[in-house]
């Protein structure tokens, strides 16, 4: 004989399944939701918290990210220091002096001023590495080299042309026929190169960037976006099973108590 389940037993079974689904969806999504919520709140206030200017120093996280210590091979020697570049960031000895500088073209002293030739222009610094000014290149763009002539003037050298920096260090003027001694790169001091590699590595990844990657799931590599998708799916399941369970309970209460 077939036993027909009563409406009450059907409702109980459905509620139990929904409750189990709700529990599992909650458990699966809990950690991911916590990560999303905490990283989201921090990202909302990243500037106020200074996270955009603070760098991740944890070696394991940098390794996880694949950020390696790359030592510069060459630099430009000044009387009392070196100018070198790693990934577009230019250093005066160990002090970063310019970002997004492109290829380092050269560096020379103009009296008390340190002149560093980078892609956007000739960067003028005082002896402490403080920025005095950036004199953009002539309209034909960055030179192939910089150097000086016998009169001690600073020049930018192009294929077929040369420009002289005016005495007030404000602008360039066509140089005419000149004999130029270009500055050339030399092999960088090994200790300094190793130290620079470590300094540079510790100033690549900001906390804001790391949190953004965590928030988007990209920190976990290829699996990251799938984990984020799983969290999103779990949230949908939580909402759906919660609503369904609520409706089922209300229906059952109506049946029981009229």
């Amino acid at each position: 004989m077939i036993k027909v389940p009563t409406p009450c037993k059907v409702a109980n079974g459905t509620l139990q399944i929904l409750a189990a689904l709700h529990r599992w969806a909650g458990a699966v999504s809990l950690l991911l939701l916590l990560l999303l919520a905490i990283s989201g709140v921090l990202l909302n206030h990243a500037v106020a918290l200074g996270l955009d200017k603070r760098y991740v120093a944890a070696g394991w996280l940098l390794e996880w990210y694949g950020i390696e210590a790359v030592a510069p091979q060459a630099g430009f020697r000044l009387d009392d220091g070196w100018v070198s570049e790693i990934d577009g960031r230019v250093y005066l000895d160990r002090q970063p002096i310019a970002d997004d500088a492109g290829e380092l073209i050269g560096a020379l002293r103009i009296g008390e001023v340190i002149a560093v030739a980078i892609h956007p222009g000739l960067l003028l610094l005082d002896v402490n590495g403080e920025r005095i000014d950036l004199v953009p290149w002539p309209e034909i763009g960055p030179p192939v080299a910089v150097g000086t002539n016998e009169a001690g003037e600073s020049l930018a050298l192009y294929a077929g042309a040369a420009y002289r920096l005016t005495g007030d260090l404000l602008a360039w003027e066509a140089a005419g026929r000149v004999v130029i001694k270009p500055v050339t790169a030399e092999l960088l001091d090994r200790d300094l190169a190793g130290r620079l590699a470590e300094i540079h590595r510790a100033q690549v990844l900001t906390w804001e960037r790391a949190l953004l990657e965590l928030h988007a799931g990209r920190l976990f590599g290829r699996a990251g976006p799938w984990l984020a998708d799983l969290a999103a799916l779990a949230i949908l399941l939580l909402a759906a099973s919660g609503l369904w369970s609520w409706q089922a309970r209300r229906k059952r209460q109506r049946e029981l108590f009229g």
Binding site: V47, D52, P72, P138, L170, E173, A174, A185
Partner: protein
């Protein structure tokens, strides 16, 4: 980095087709100056931000200005400053025309941020026209912000205040120099 291939240390620069003038400013800045001075750009003057002047500039901006020397271009009472300030991550280059202690024109010359470029619109920059500094070195009027460009708006406001203050300082320096 390029390990210089110019092995010889003495080089005679060849001389064909050398342009006769090179102002040493970005093309966007040159266009702005050209438009402001009718194509006849005066040579740049300079103002050094050292000592108390550096401190006051830092008070206006909330941090020291990026360089210790500021270039400006002047004809009669009209002074043009081209200044830079970071909005969120990248510097914004803006031009400010000052005459008689008031801003006559503001233009965003180079915008490098990925978001917030609405500050380039004339409807935003026109708000600064005829603005002056009050006794606390704030603008004498309220500038309406732009949703989604809060940091860029803040940067341009700070630069506008700095330009007005720099114009006053350059006037004082010229008076002192006779």
């Amino acid at each position: 980095m390029r390990v210089c291939a110019l092995a010889s240390f003495v080089l005679l620069a060849p001389l064909a087709a050398v342009p006769t003038a090179a102002s040493g400013v970005e093309p966007e800045v040159e266009r702005f100056l050209g438009a402001e001075f009718g194509g006849d750009i005066p040579p740049p003057a300079q103002l050094w931000l050292v000592g108390e002047r550096r401190q006051e500039a830092a008070r206006i901006l909330g941090h020291p200005y990026a360089t210790r020397r500021v270039r400006y271009w002047q004809r009669d009472a009209r002074r043009v400053f081209v200044l830079e300030e970071i909005g969120k991550e990248m510097p914004i280059t803006a031009g400010f025309v000052v005459a008689g202690g008031r801003l006559k024109r503001v233009a965003i010359l180079i915008y490098r941020e990925s978001r917030g470029g609405e500050v380039r619109r004339g409807s935003f920059t026109r708000q600064f026209e005829d603005a002056a500094l009050d006794e606390r070195s704030f603008l004498d009027r309220r500038i309406d912000g732009i949703s989604g460009a809060t940091l860029s708006v803040g940067a341009i406001e700070r630069l506008a205040r700095l330009a007005l203050w720099l114009a006053g300082e350059s006037e004082k320096q010229q008076a002192a120099d006779g």
